[in-house]
């Protein structure tokens, strides 16, 4: 299947790329940790995708490193995530995207247009980094988190608003004999509370979707659902939403 466009989402943690066909359907993708030397990495990824799919089309770029993509058309992650999510879910709502170093909430209208947005990218405490740091410290593998949290009888509250302080707070809790599952649940609740605060002013009252690497963590989805008091629908292939949106933005014939 010949791809017609490629989208690259150069995040500060991971680099994602999606190739789409003329109808905008994804036909190939890549996810890698972002190399500090972005340009050679992106060049290689694009070349690999072109070879795999026979793509000759344009490249759309988004994410923190979007301006470093050679011959890419740069658009912000707000525009691209909205486009990518809408292409998949085909209806209006609020998208909560939780990435490695930023969290965003985007209100999407009935035609897929961006109506409003809010970002948290100045403080790690409201992003995926918060969990990453502490889970790393506790040596809990990412794929075990959800199971552990669901086993918790009750959440052990984690009150620190700063990632660094939360880390030392959690260590004290563990040393004090608090159950690990409860601590993990408390961590997720703390992060969800911050994301919910960001969302409340922007999300409106419609449906809520979730994307980003953190959406692969079922415990986080559950915690956010509880914090917002509303059902949350995780967009399929949540990590690729931005790259998909970037590809769709440069697809010949798209607005």
């Amino acid at each position: 299947m010949r791809a017609a466009a490629i989208g690259v989402d150069v995040g500060s943690t991971t680099c994602k790329a999606v190739a789409v066909d003329a109808a905008g359907r994804p036909v190939a993708h890549r996810v890698e940790p972002t190399d500090p030397r972005i340009e050679p990495q992106v060049e290689r990824i694009v070349r690999e995708l072109r070879e795999e799919t026979g793509a000759v089309g344009p490249v759309g770029a988004t994410g923190y490193g979007r301006k470093r993509v050679p011959s890419g058309r740069a658009l912000t992650e707000i525009t691209c995530h909205a486009r990518g999510a809408f292409a998949t879910v085909r209806r209006s709502g609020a998208l909560v995207d939780m990435g490695g170093q930023d969290t965003k909430v985007i209100r999407i209208g009935p035609a897929g247009e961006v109506l409003d947005f809010a970002m948290n990218d100045k403080c790690a405490a409201g992003t995926g980094r918060f969990l990453e740091v502490i889970l790393g410290r506790l040596r809990v593998p990412f794929d075990e988190v959800s199971a552990q949290v669901s086993r918790a009888a009750r959440a052990v509250p984690v009150s620190s608003t700063c990632t660094v302080f939360a880390e030392s707070e959690v260590i004290s809790l563990v040393a004090g004999g608090e159950p690990l599952e409860g601590i993990l649940k408390g961590l997720h609740q703390a992060l969800a509370a911050r994301v919910a605060a960001l969302a409340r002013g922007t999300a409106g009252s419609g449906e809520v979707f979730m994307s980003g690497g953190v959406a692969l963590n079922a415990a986080m989805v559950g915690a956010l659902r509880d914090a917002l008091g509303r059902p949350i629908h995780v967009v399929p292939e949540p990590q690729l939403v931005g790259a998909l949106g970037a590809a769709l933005s440069v697809l010949p014939g798209s607005p």
Partner: protein, 348 residues
């Protein structure tokens, strides 16, 4: 003689009439350095923190005095901290303008406060305040405001980029008024009126257009400032019809006639009405609230302004800054995303 003046509102006409140069201190931007850097806590706005560090490090030693308006709690505290506990050793003046709605008590008080300030300034300036000089100063500042208003209101048709225009307007923060007026007149001739410029018109309300890179990013993204409500710029442009014959009365009238500001008398409804008027006249399709982090007077108005803009279907971006020298990547993304959003709205 020259005085450093802290933001925002002060009687320029009186300083001009006394032949005193005002040099406004909007920061300066950048991380506070020197011994004074840590004397104000980090949860206070960077204007107060930077100003203290700057003054304490001798940055303002070129002037002979400093004037502190009663802008807010932070500047109020800065004034006593710098002059009483160290950081500024020369003359210090205060202009404790009234707050809240204009009542009879506020009008009486404002006049008394201005006369008191004059009594303090006269020995410093080495001259008495003469009515004829005050009248001339009023006329000069009226003309300056008329030029500034013409440039700001005629913005959509000016063949000038925002960075260039703002650099010109901000020179008025430290130039002798006559020199600033000469530059403004020259600019009016140079920036000949032409067709409506391309790009998406936006309204910007906030404290000070720092860093200037913000204006460049706006322009590169395909937008421009069509309506200005910066405290440092548009919010101090007085568009009064005719000056009262008595120069004192003219000074008072000009104070009350300035656009609404959260640090003076305005209630949020008054500000919302004024800003929606600006919005309509300029055709702006989006509004950016460029807020200095921790600035209480501005932050309290945000919900009312959001509501007013939402009622008109105008999207709002709240952009928080800390008087940095560089524009952060995060700020660039927000501005670009906002303009992308507005552009898509036009296309739809």
């Amino acid at each position: 003689m020259a005085v450093a003046v802290l933001p925002i509102h002060y009687p320029k006409e009186i300083l001009t009439a006394l032949d005193v140069l005002s040099v406004e201190l909007w920061g300066p931007p950048g991380a506070p350095r020197g011994d004074g850097a840590g004397r104000i806590q980090s949860y206070v706005c960077s204007l107060a923190r930077n100003a203290l560090a700057f003054m304490a490090a001798g940055g303002a030693d070129a002037v002979d005095g400093v004037l502190f308006p009663h802008t807010c709690d932070s500047i109020q505290g800065l004034a006593t901290l710098a002059t009483d506990f160290g950081g500024w050793g020369k003359k210090a003046f205060t202009f404790l303008h009234p707050k809240g709605p204009a009542r009879e008590s506020s009008r009486t008080y404002l006049e008394a406060e201005l006369r008191s300030l004059v009594r303090d300034l006269e020995p410093f300036a080495g001259r008495r305040l003469e009515p004829a000089r005050l009248a001339a100063a009023v006329a000069l500042h009226r003309e300056i405001d008329a030029c500034r208003a013409a440039l700001l209101d005629g913005r959509p048709r000016l063949a000038a980029g925002d960075p260039e225009l703002y650099a010109l307007l901000r020179r008025g923060e430290w130039l002798w008024p006559e020199d600033h007026l000469a530059e403004l007149r020259e600019a009016r001739d140079r920036f000949r009126e032409g067709p409506i410029r391309p790009g998406i018109p936006v309204l910007v309300s906030g404290y000070v257009p720092e860093p200037p890179a913000l204006l460049e990013v706006l322009e590169r993204s395909g937008a421009y400032v069509a309506a200005d409500d910066y405290a440092a710029v548009g919010r101090r442009v007085v568009r009064a019809a005719a000056a009262a014959p008595d120069p004192w009365q003219a000074v008072l009238d000009r104070y009350w006639a300035a656009p609404p500001c959260s640090t003076r008398s305005a209630d949020p409804d008054e500000r919302a009405r004024y800003l929606t008027g600006l919005l309509e006249r300029s055709g702006a399709r989006g509004a950016i609230l460029h807020i200095l982090k921790f600035c209480e007077p501005e932050l309290f108005d945000v919900p009312a302004l959001r509501r007013a803009f939402a009622a008109r279907g105008v999207p709002v971006l709240v952009l928080e800054g800390e008087l940095e020298l560089e524009l952060s990547g995060q700020a660039v993304t927000r501005v670009e995303a906002f303009v992308e959003m507005l552009a898509a709205g036009r296309a739809a």
